[in-house]
Symmetry: C2
Subunit: 217 residues, 2 copies
Amino acid sequence: MRPSARHHVRRVKERARYETAAVHAVLDAGFLAHVGFSVDGQPFVIPMLYARDGDDILLHGSIASRLMRSLAEGIAACVSVTHVDGLVLARSHFHHSANYRSAVCFGTAKVVDDADEKVAALARFVDAILPGRAAESRAADRNELAATLLLRFTIEDASAKGREGGPRDDPADTGLPVWAGVVPLQLRSAAPIPAEDCALPPPPSVQRLTATNGDAA
Amino acid sequence: MRPSARHHVRRVKERARYETAAVHAVLDAGFLAHVGFSVDGQPFVIPMLYARDGDDILLHGSIASRLMRSLAEGIAACVSVTHVDGLVLARSHFHHSANYRSAVCFGTAKVVDDADEKVAALARFVDAILPGRAAESRAADRNELAATLLLRFTIEDASAKGREGGPRDDPADTGLPVWAGVVPLQLRSAAPIPAEDCALPPPPSVQRLTATNGDAA
């Protein structure tokens, strides 16, 4: 039976919704993006801190940065975020791989000038690095806002990809005397290092991180 | 005193040597790059496994990949590698940051067709993921080589950047009742998970990793 056009549309929408949720999940799990764009035919891929805001990605940098100003002109750009989850060790070189989750987002950026929106965005960057941290620290003042170039990158198209699970060896290789499996990897925190001029105890945001994410000290 | 031309050249060379060493150090500490290039005016930033070979970066993918074939045409590209080393938590939102090491490499890729070079390159990818692992597992055979598109990206220009150390708060903020400091981050391994059809003990490469890098289990 041939699916009706309406059914097809529904499936496409569901697929799009699923893809959006998958992209957001990858973005929300990190704070470092690799941002790509071309200037005079030369591609650049620059690491930048980011925070998701709905279907947008907030980026920021110094107003003195030539690359940030190029990006701010609304040229075509690509924002990619990747989390490495493990080493996939197969019996053969060919089937070695990595487990990962990634989002590749296409769109354009525009400058945000509104002061309230900039203050809120800077708080979002702080909470993207460490949830709850924004409320513990001082919000941006007028001079700091003036020195910050805030960009709102609107995601026009995006895809999430990933790999999970064990190695997928050729059946002919499974008898080889070679260990196969996965070594999970995770970005983990070590014991916090207070600033030299700080005698306060670590705040709740840091305590939550080290409690849930492991203290490597 | 005006430095002689020769002295100037020596300084430039030393600077270049220092920069090259710094770029190589960042590349050698990882295995995941973000590769940027434009196709029909649209920038792409794709996560790829890599391995350094001298002043080149080896990349690989499926010969079925449209993007890999575009890259293989020798278009301008940018290969970036970033390691996150810590969260920098300042008294103000504005001075929050991340400690990191990054390399941004500009150049072009060309296809490697030589079978021996491809076999050696696949071993390099495996050892980039986990040192010593290539010798423990089966090298690529003729069919696997045929299915692999190997690219040699020659670094024509590169720069290393990074941030380390504690927050750099405004002097006026140091009296605020806000904790400031760094939470170190590191990509750490957890206990290896053998493949379902593998009853062997973890090999030396895995044992070395979990011994030096921490067992998060």
